[in-house]
C-alpha cells in the first residue's frame, strides 16, 4: 500500500462523506423538528434523481441547472407529504409511534411501486452532462468533478442552513417549535405551517443531493434504499435532530468506509461504519452532537 493509495482513499472518502451528510441532513432536520423519522427518505432521493433524469432526457437541461428546480419541486412535495399524510399520522390517538412509522414506511413502498410502474425498472443514467466523467488529477490523486461539485454544494448547503436557522425569523420559529410546540402556539405561530415548511426544507435538501448524484450514479426505483440506510446511520451517529451532527456524521461515515476498505477486504467495508456506530451507541447514545 503506497502513500498515494491512502491519500486517494481518504480523498474519495471525504467527497463521498460530504454527500452522505447532504443526503442525511433532511432526515435530521425533520426528526429534530417533530420527532418523526421519515422512512421514505430514500424514496425522496429516488424521485429527485428521476426528476433530474427526465429534465435531462426531455428538455436537455443539465443537472447543474436543474438542481435548483428539483430542490424547489421537492420542497413542494415534502410540504404536501406533511399536509396530506404526516399531519394526520401524528394525531393518532393510540400507538402514535407505530402510526408514524407505518405511514412513512407505507409511503416509501407506494413511491417505489409507482416508480416501477411508471418509469419501468430499467436502470437509467445521464450519459452526457457538463461535469459527468470529468476528473481533476492533482499529483496522481484523482478527484472526480461531479463528486467534487457535490461536496461543494454540501458545504454551501450547510453554511446556508446555519445562517438560515440562526439568523432568520423562520429559522427561529423552527428552533422554537422544536423546543416546545405548545408554547409557540400561544405566541401565535402556526405549528402546522412551520412543520410543513420544515418538511419542505428537508425534502429540498435531499432533492439537491439527488440532482448531483444523478450525474454519476445509476437511477432505478430502488436506488434510495442503500443510501437511506447510510443516512439513518449518519443521523444516529451525528446525533438525532442535530443538523450539524448530520454533517459531521456524514464525514465520519465516508472516511471510515474508505479507510476500512484499505485494511479489510472490500466486501466488509461497511463493517467499519457499523462498528463506529455501535461504539457511539455504547459510549454516547445521543450521538456525537445530539441534544436529546
Amino acid at each position: 500500500m503506497t502513500a498515494e493509495t491512502i491519500i486517494q482513499s481518504l480523498a474519495s472518502g471525504l467527497l463521498m462523506g460530504l454527500l452522505y451528510g447532504l443526503i442525511a441532513v433532511g432526515l435530521a432536520l425533520i426528526f429534530g423538528l417533530m420527532d418523526v423519522v421519515n422512512f421514505a427518505h430514500g424514496e425522496f432521493l429516488m424521485i429527485a434523481m428521476y426528476a433530474t433524469f427526465f429534465l435531462f432526457a426531455f428538455f436537455a437541461i443539465d443537472p447543474l441547472l436543474s438542481a435548483p428546480l428539483v430542490a424547489a419541486a421537492l420542497f413542494v412535495f415534502g410540504a404536501v407529504v406533511y399536509l396530506l399524510i404526516v399531519r394526520f399520522a401524528v394525531r393518532a390517538k393510540a400507538n402514535a409511534g407505530m402510526v408514524q412509522i407505518f405511514s412513512t414506511f407505507g409511503l416509501a413502498i407506494v413511491m417505489r411501486g409507482l416508480a416501477q410502474y411508471f418509469f419501468t425498472p430499467d436502470y437509467r443514467s445521464i450519459t452526457h452532462s457538463w461535469l459527468g466523467g470529468k476528473t481533476i488529477s492533482v499529483a496522481g490523486i484523482f478527484l472526480p468533478v461531479p463528486q467534487l461539485c457535490g461536496a461543494l454544494v454540501a458545504i454551501a448547503a450547510f453554511v446556508g442552513l446555519y445562517f438560515f436557522i440562526n439568523r432568520t425569523d423562520f429559522g427561529r420559529a423552527l428552533e422554537a417549535t422544536r423546543e416546545d410546540a405548545g408554547a409557540v402556539a400561544l405566541v401565535g405561530i402556526d405549528k402546522n405551517r412551520v412543520f410543513a415548511l420544515g418538511w419542505g426544507l428537508g425534502a429540498a435538501l435531499v432533492g439537491l443531493a439527488g440532482s448531483i448524484m444523478a450525474i454519476f450514479f445509476y437511477i432505478y426505483p430502488d436506488v434510495g434504499a442503500s443510501f437511506a440506510l447510510i443516512a439513518y446511520v449518519t443521523v444516529a451517529l451525528g446525533g438525532f435532530g442535530s443538523v450539524f451532527g448530520a454533517f459531521a456524521g456524514g464525514l465520519v461515515v465516508g472516511l471510515v468506509e474508505a479507510s476500512t476498505a484499505l485494511i479489510l477486504p472490500p466486501s466488509l467495508k461497511s463493517i467499519g461504519i457499523y462498528a463506529v456506530y455501535l461504539l457511539v451507541v455504547f459510549v454516547r447514545p445521543r450521538g456525537l452532537f445530539g441534544s436529546i
Binding site: 472518502g13 463521498m16 419501468t120 476528473t135 442503500s226 466488509l268
Partner: protein, 414 residues
C-alpha cells in the same frame, strides 16, 4: 348373459372412478411457475424475463413453422393440445422470499414445473423446495457450478455454468498468448453472493492451473453505494486483464468509477451478468468499446438459422429489446420444459422429471449455438458451448471459439 342392474351399476361406478384420469389426460392447460425478481434492485431483469417467457409460451401455444420443439401445431399434443399457462412469482432477489414463493407456486397455484431465477443465490432455495415437493426445477440462467452438484434429482440446467464459461475464457487467453499478446496477470473483481464467489473460485483455480498470475482478487459487496476503494486496488494492481463478475448496477458503477479514477485496463473479459445488459451499455457504452463478455447466445446466429432472427423480432415487439444472453436462455428453458411435459404426457412431477432426464435435442433445434441438449445424471447439460463476444461499434460480435467466430478479437480494447 343378461345384463343385470348390478352390472350396469358396476360399470357406471367403474367409469366414474376412471373419469378423473380421463379428465386429467385432457387437461386443457399446463401450469408452469416462473420465479424472478419482479421488484427490487434487479426488477429490470425480471420484467424483461417475463417477456421472454411469454414469447416462448406464444410459440408453444400457437402454430409457427420453426424447427423448434412444439413450435409446429398448437399446444402440447401429448396432452391433447393443452396450452401452457405461466404463473409469475416475485422473489425480489431474496433467497428467503424465493423459498416462500416457490412453496406458494407449488401448493397454491399447483404448478407442475418451476423455472427461474436469475440470481444463483435464490436458485439454491427454490430448487430445494422443488426437490421436496418432487417438482422439476430448471435453471434458465443461473450459472453457479455448485447448483448442480448438490445431488438433487429434480434439478436441470440446459445452459453452461461458470466453470465452463471460465474455461472458455482461459482457452481464449491461451490462444491469444500463442499469437504473442501479453497476458500474464489478471485482476478478479466479483460480487459477494454465490454467483460472484463461485465465478471467482473457478477463475482462481483455472489461473493457477494454466500459469496466470492473479494480482488482485477483489470481492466486493453487491449494490455498494461507492466502489472507489475497490477500483483503486484494481488500478494499483494494473493487471493485463480485468475480469469482473458483476450484476448490472455494480457493473455501471464499476465502469464509471474506473473513468473517474483514470483507470483503463488493457482488456476486460467479463462474466456476463451486467455486461450483457443493454442498460449498462446505454449508461457507459462509450467507455466499453472492445469489452469482451462470455455468453451462450449471439444474434450472429440469425445469419445461419433464420428462425433466431424471427423469434428475436417477436421478443423485441414485446420488450423493445433484442434477445441477450439472459432472455435467450429464459426463452429456451420454457421451450425445453414444455417439450419434456409433452413427452411425459402428464403433469406428474416424477414423470416430467424422467422425460427431462431422457431429453436429447440437437442444437439445431434451439436458438442457441449449442451442440445439443442432453442432461447428465446431475441435471447439467454439458454440450452447451459458451462463446466469447466482443462489444464493437455498439453491438456484440462472436470472437471465440474459432468455429463460431465471425470476427477477430481486437486487443487491447480501445
Amino acid at each position: 348373459m343378461t345384463i343385470s342392474r348390478r352390472n350396469v351399476l358396476l360399470g357406471a361406478t367403474a367409469s366414474a372412478a376412471l373419469l378423473p384420469i380421463a379428465a386429467r389426460a385432457q387437461t386443457s392447460e399446463v401450469v408452469i411457475g416462473v420465479i424472478y425478481p419482479l421488484s427490487g434492485a434487479s426488477a429490470q431483469i425480471g420484467v424483461d424475463a417475463q417477456k421472454a417467457f411469454e414469447t416462448a409460451a406464444e410459440i408453444v401455444n400457437k402454430n409457427f413453422d420453426y424447427d423448434l420443439p412444439l413450435a409446429r401445431g398448437e399446444g402440447l399434443p401429448g396432452l391433447g393440445g393443452a396450452k401452457v399457462r405461466l404463473v409469475f412469482a416475485d422473489h425480489q432477489a431474496d433467497p428467503q422470499k424465493g423459498r416462500a414463493e416457490a412453496e406458494r407456486l407449488i401448493t397454491q397455484e399447483k404448478v407442475c414445473a418451476v423455472i427461474g431465477t436469475y440470481q444463483s443465490a435464490v436458485a439454491v432455495t427454490v430448487s430445494q423446495i422443488c426437490e421436496r415437493y418432487q417438482i422439476p426445477f430448471m435453471s434458465a440462467d443461473n450459472s453457479s457450478p455448485s447448483l448442480h452438484r448438490r445431488g438433487l434429482k429434480f434439478y436441470f440446467r440446459a445452459s453452461p455454468h461458470d466453470e465452463m464459461y471460465s474455461k472458455a475464457m482461459f482457452d481464449f487467453f491461451d490462444v491469444m498468448k500463442k499469437k504473442g499478446t501479453k497476458i500474464d496477470t489478471l485482476a478478479l473483481f466479483h460480487e459477494d453472493t454465490i454467483f460472484g464467489t463461485d465465478s471467482g473460485n473457478a477463475q482462481s483455480k483455472l489461473a493457477a492451473e494454466r500459469g496466470y498470475k492473479i494480482v488482485a482478487d477483489i470481492k466486493y459487496r453487491a449494490n455498494s453505494p461507492s466502489l472507489s476503494a475497490e477500483v483503486q486496488q484494481i488500478k494499483a494492481a494494473n493487471a493485463d486483464v480485468l475480469m469482473p463478475s458483476s450484476y448490472t448496477t455494480d457493473g455501471i458503477l464499476l465502469v464509471k468509477t474506473m473513468g473517474e479514477l483514470g483507470y483503463k485496463p488493457p482488456a476486460i473479459v467479463a462474466q456476463d451478468a451486467g455486461f450483457s445488459e443493454k442498460a449498462l451499455y446505454d449508461a457507459v457504452g462509450d467507455k466499453l468499446e472492445g469489452v469482451i463478455s462470455r455468453g451462450t447466445f449471439s444474434l450472429d446466429l440469425a445469419q445461419k438459422r433464420p428462425m433466431v432472427g424471427k423469434i428475436n423480432e417477436m421478443f423485441k415487439e414485446k420488450s423493445g429489446k433484442d434477445f441477450n444472453d439472459y432472455s435467450s436462455r429464459q426463452f429456451m428453458a420454457l421451450v425445453l420444459m414444455a417439450d419434456a411435459i409433452n413427452r411425459a404426457k402428464s403433469t406428474d412431477g416424477e414423470k416430467i422429471r424422467d422425460a427431462l432426464a431422457a431429453t436429447d435435442i440437437s442444437g439445431e433445434q434451439t436458438i442457441m449455438p449449442w451442440k445439443r441438449v442432453k442432461y447428465d445424471e446431475s441435471g447439467q447439460n454439458n454440450d452447451a458451448d459458451p462463446v466469447l463476444l466482443q462489444y464493437v461499434g455498439g453491438k456484440f460480435v462472436t470472437i471465440f471459439p474459432a468455429q463460431a467466430a465471425v470476427a477477430e478479437a481486437s486487443w487491447p480494447m480501445k
